[in-house]
Amino acid sequence: MMHQTVLCGSATVSDGRDVHLRLDGLTKRYGESVAVAALDLAVPKGELVALLGPSGCGKTTTLRMVAGLIKPTNGRIVVGSNDITIMPTYRRDMGLVFQSYALFPHMSVAKNVAFGLEMRSVPKPEIERRVKEALGMVRLEALAERKPRELSGGQQQRVALARALVIRPSILLLDEPLSNLDAKLRDEMRNEIRDIQQSLGITAVFVTHDQVEALSMCDKVVVMQGGKLEQVGTPVDVYEHPASPFVASFVGRTNRLKGTAQGDGSVTIGAMKVLVPGRPGGKVEIMVRPHRMKLVEEGSVEDVAGQEVNRLAGHLKRVTFVGDLLQYSVDVGGAEIVVEAASDHGRGFRIVGTPVAVLWRVEDTMVFGRGA
């Protein structure tokens, strides 16, 4: 059986980089159910790739197969030019970081970090030097003699990162490493992991269900659903040009309206009519990002600099203040559309029931067919 290997993303980004990790038709079945279905993926050297998807999409199963913790039902895992599909975990030379940190509770921080080096029979003075260096990298030299339970969640995860990196693994695997941390810490760790990954130039696979993590940290985003790839691309690709309605709605917020395309560049949605790019036909779903839309007073004349715009009239249903944003829910002919606007000191439309109009540029409209 031939598998066409899909190179991660566009050639411009991965140009000149060798493929470091390749998955060929990787499959995992549990009885009748398929966790991962014939996955093909190539990760270029030095890239940080996110496996993004809802729980149960097969992203963690894929990572665990790469780590050797789960035996694939079918397919191959290749690192460089070596087929490692059946190689045991302890010989794979991969750094693994878990959501639950998984530090050795009976060992000090320094001992945790030293473990991988001891397994490799590195001479003692070198172990000491490299442990110090690795703890320095995550700014934890001062806590070397502490036990894991005396550390905060963020500190524990930094120890786990140091422990995984000190062995200079060929590939770093991160399984939802930020999910147990609170929001502020998560932002910090995100930057920290990205900076370290970049400075070491290490190939890394990052499993997450959080689109913000995937978009902000990674070179490539692999969107998965139901054990299959939905889209592989740069964060900008995946966000701006989603390949499917699933990707559009999973990555970033979106408004979805179902209608019928007329084949002339317009789509009717109930009694409303909107213009779309191209000339699609048949039943379609159109999607528009909330922040691409603009809310204006009903009847106002808005100049959108000669661009083709859609304009739907409705009335304000709800206003939600989120600090930096105002989210407006607008009732447009029975459908609810969410519009986001930068919050200017909380000023904006506030009175529920106000007649308003929603504007957006035709080119910002995404159209997906809905089958026959």
Binding site: G68, L69, P88, Y90, R91, H106, F115, A160, A164, V322
Partner: protein, 293 residues
């Protein structure tokens, strides 16, 4: 998004005195039972160990160290004590070795299978040790299936009964459920992710076991060993039957002195000695726990 502060319900705080009073009232029944059924008899035994034994089973109320000095001066008793401790330690170690893999497997199994296996492990406790010991006698007898099978292989048949080997085999099996349950209770710190982390860092299965799994299961091992050692030292029926009267251990000797020879002061002294051994075992357990943290 709007955040609304929800006022917390005022907590009803009961007066501290009332709570202590409730605790005392709840503890009173067990304290009474323990005082009457355990502490008083032990004190009585302690007193009797300093009394003088008279021929024909009489006890004279005096204060003499004769029982204690006689015990440590008699090579039979010194050997008996050493033998009891070594046999009990052997039983404990044998029980640990055969129970550990079972407990580890049970710990890792899930759902109905786990429930089924747990019931299977506990089920021997539903039969009395006497019945199980007779079962072992049938199995280990000179003409029994095990000895015959070994003989059929052309190996000189060993004696498996009426000696220390028989006692160790029988008690090991009888104590296994206690060991397995203790191990399981102490396996809480064992997280499969931690084992996976060790493997990802290059530790082969054997190294993962010695460096990660074993240290993390030490609390369970300590608890199981304490419990089995104590039960082995105090076990009486199995050594009596499987030892065939030729194996002299503390528990069997206490029985003989109290019931056969009617030397109650000596039986009391031996009983106190067993208590001292238990105390030492408990102290050792506490030390091990502290070392593990």
């Amino acid at each position: 998004m709007m955040t609304i502060t929800v006022p917390t319900a005022p907590t009803v705080s009961r007066p501290a005195l009332g709570r202590t009073g409730t605790a005392a009232a709840l503890l009173l029944p067990i304290a009474l039972i323990n005082a009457i059924g355990f502490i008083l008899p032990v004190l009585n035994l302690l007193r009797m160990s300093f009394n003088e034994a008279l021929a024909g089973g009489g006890v004279r109320e005096t204060f003499t160290l004769a029982n204690w000095t006689g015990l440590f001066g008699d090579s039979f008793y010194v050997e008996l004590i050493i033998n009891s401790i070594t046999v009990s330690l052997s039983i404990t170690i044998a029980t640990l070795i055969v129970s550990y893999p079972i407990a580890l497997y049970l710990h890792r199994s899930t759902g109905r299978w786990r429930t089924f296996l747990t019931v299977l492990v506990i089920s021997p406790l539903l039969t009395s040790a006497v019945v199980r010991t007779y079962g072992w006698i049938a199995l280990l007898a000179d003409q029994g299936p095990i000895v015959s099978a070994i003989a059929a292989l052309g190996i000189a048949p060993p004696r498996l009964m009426f000696n220390t080997t028989g006692v160790i085999i029988g008690l090991t099996e009888i104590l296994m459920p206690y060991m397995i349950l203790s191990l399981l209770a102490g396996f809480g710190r064992l997280d499969p992710r931690v084992e996976e982390a060790a493997m990802s860092l290059g530790a082969p299965p054997a190294k993962t076991f010695w460096r990660v799994i074993l240290p993390l299961t030490l609390p369970g091992i300590a608890l199981g060993c304490l419990l089995c050692f104590v039960l082995a030292v105090s076990s009486f029926i199995t050594p009596k039957l499987l030892g065939g009267g030729r194996i002299f251990l503390l528990a069997t000797e206490i029985y003989d002195q109290a019931i056969v020879t009617l030397n109650w002061p000596l039986a009391a002294t031996l009983s106190m000695l067993v208590l001292i051994i238990f105390g030492a075992a408990l102290a050792a357990y506490a030390r091990v726990l502290r070392a593990i943290e």
